[in-house]
Subunit: 348 residues, 2 copies
């Protein structure tokens, strides 16, 4: 079909480079499209409330390893990961479509487990599963989820609204999903070497759950509405804090200063990272898969968030020329660089 | 993760059995969900006009063979196949999300070709590409498309509205996509045996295009609106006429009588099927991938469609107990059986 001589290598281009390249060719023409590619979800104006749509593709061997991910957890997580994008627009998710491709090595009971997890997530978050596609796969499991949600136009938060002086906030704590993955990977290696040894995850429930069963932060969207705060910019943390704050700064044409000591890290995450010889801050910055919300707010809203235990203020927005910087606990200044999930893993 | 002892075999259950099984566990709770799984697209009521959403998953080695499908055509077809579901609701498609998973054997130029095809389809049909996901794949090319569209509630056509005495209509002609595939498969075999022989598709443009570059029938939706006909039931033909009419009859709790001599088959489809020793009627009934619209209309609307060259009346709806029957050219009565794409292929 094509030869590979004098072609641009995809690996060299990277995912973001590929997306930037692809989206250049897209022209929006429908009146009902308020926002297409470039944020967590598309915003469509059919009438009255706005419709939000987001989609994810999860592939075996790339996004999950069935040797340590139970299928029910996988179904649950696949939905959460996708709902998270709707919440990151400050919207409420209301429907999903859920598609799977699977080979005949899976029995019906495996599919039931997968759907049971997806439906449990739907039930917990008041979301209807309204469509999907089921297909044979010649190799491995493929999952595709599309979420649809809604919001009043005035409530929608994009990535590009951060202003100089705004405070940078994050929900929950970071790095747990990545450290949980390190634990699961270690147990897998031990099991492969000696299948008679049982996994030792004793007392590590929290970080294992952060990896296997993340919860999208619908509660934060509701909390922000309750306390009367509309973020100026928001994104969910799928690739790690560093990558996501750079998205906000780039979209908003701003810089930022983050303070290492302010980054929320759970004690179990911290201690387990140390056991693995990992820097807990690096796990928070580049680990990813935490599905917390990262957002910026006006300084005038500080009093409304300062006593919220689930929200941490970790820095502030600066002018673009100041760059994006992390101030370490020792006071050193480090430039923040995009080091996504895959880059981090291969650097290990 | 699970053993296969005493499990239900997926192959034995089949796709429709699997879908029926999965959907039993789904409970719809959102007020905005008017219709979930069970038709060509989900119907969501956000306000005013209704939102239509449909999704498809296309996997290399299952849905397409890159040895004879140019990537641009593949991108175009992936979109058409999905838009077809929105038109089959009597709606207008307005947006799609387009996700791909691909391995590093694909250079950037290959991805560009794929997207160029998808965007060409969008442009021709006034549809915006508003989202997607791009991922590495270890298992070949994966494409997932979700379409979103709209319709006035009163205009939406479901599968379950066929009434006794209604006329069964089909747009365009049938069987061409399947016969086109036979041609492409033959040329692939010849090429694999002797790579120096060039493909011989001379004069077969129409049926090769029916397979490689199908056109969803937006024009039929517009035509029906112009002539003032609202079908009582409608579905698009992806699995073949037989499978689709059975869906309408089952959803509507009715039977039908179709007449072989009325089924529209293009002369090139007819002649090429004969060359391959295939029965052209079987190709129309079970070949699939024609993406024409199959619909039922009230007898009182007959005068409005009888002179439309793109619409053929091929039978009528009967009471359920009469069953679903095909009357052959020789006057014999055959029960119509669901013989989808895969079943047909393996029966060859």
């Amino acid at each position: 079909m094509f030869d590979n001589k004098e072609k641009t290598n995809l690996e060299r281009l990277g995912e973001f480079g590929l997306i930037a390249h692809i989206t250049k060719a897209i022209v929006l023409t429908e009146n009902s499209t308020l926002k297409g590619i470039g944020d967590d979800a598309a915003v469509l104006d059919f009438s009255g409330k706005k419709t939000l749509v987001s989609t994810d593709l999860l592939l075996e061997g790339v996004h999950f390893d069935l040797r340590y991910v139970p299928l029910k957890h996988l179904g649950y997580k696949a939905v959460q990961v996708n709902l998270s994008d709707i919440y990151a627009m400050n919207g409420i998710a209301s429907q999903i479509t859920f598609s799977i491709g699977l080979s005949s090595r899976f029995p019906l009971e495996a599919v039931e487990e997968l759907y049971a997890g997806a439906l449990l997530a739907c039930k917990s978050y008041n979301v209807d599963l309204v469509g999907g596609d089921t297909s044979t796969s010649v190799q491995g499991l493929v999952i595709s989820v599309t979420s649809i949600g809604y919001a009043q136009e005035a409530d929608i938060v994009y990535r590009d609204g951060a202003q100089e002086g705004d405070l940078v906030c994050v929900s929950g704590d970071l790095g747990g999903a990545y450290v949980g993955l390190q634990l699961l990977e270690r147990e897998k290696r031990i099991f492969l070497e000696n299948p008679s040894i049982q996994p030792d995850l004793e007392g590590k429930d929290y970080i294992v759950e952060r990896q296997l069963k993340p919860e999208a932060r619908k509660d934060i969207v509701q909390l922000l509405a309750t306390i009367g705060v509309k973020p100026t910019a928001m994104i969910d943390i799928s690739d790690g804090l560093a990558s996501e704050i750079l998205h906000i700064c780039e979209s908003s044409a701003k810089g930022c200063k983050l303070y290492e000591e302010k980054i929320p890290i759970d004690p179990m995450t911290y201690d387990t990272a140390r056991e693995f010889g990992l820097d807990p801050t690096v796990c928070a910055l580049s680990g990813g898969e935490d599905y917390e919300l990262l957002f910026t707010i006006s300084q005038s809203d500080y009093d409304k968030v300062k006593n919220q235990p689930d929200i941490s203020v970790i820095g502030h927005i600066t002018e673009k020329t100041a760059g994006c910087e992390l101030i370490s606990k020792s006071g050193h200044v480090h430039p923040i660089t995009a080091q996504g999930w895959n880059a981090f893993k291969s650097a290990q």
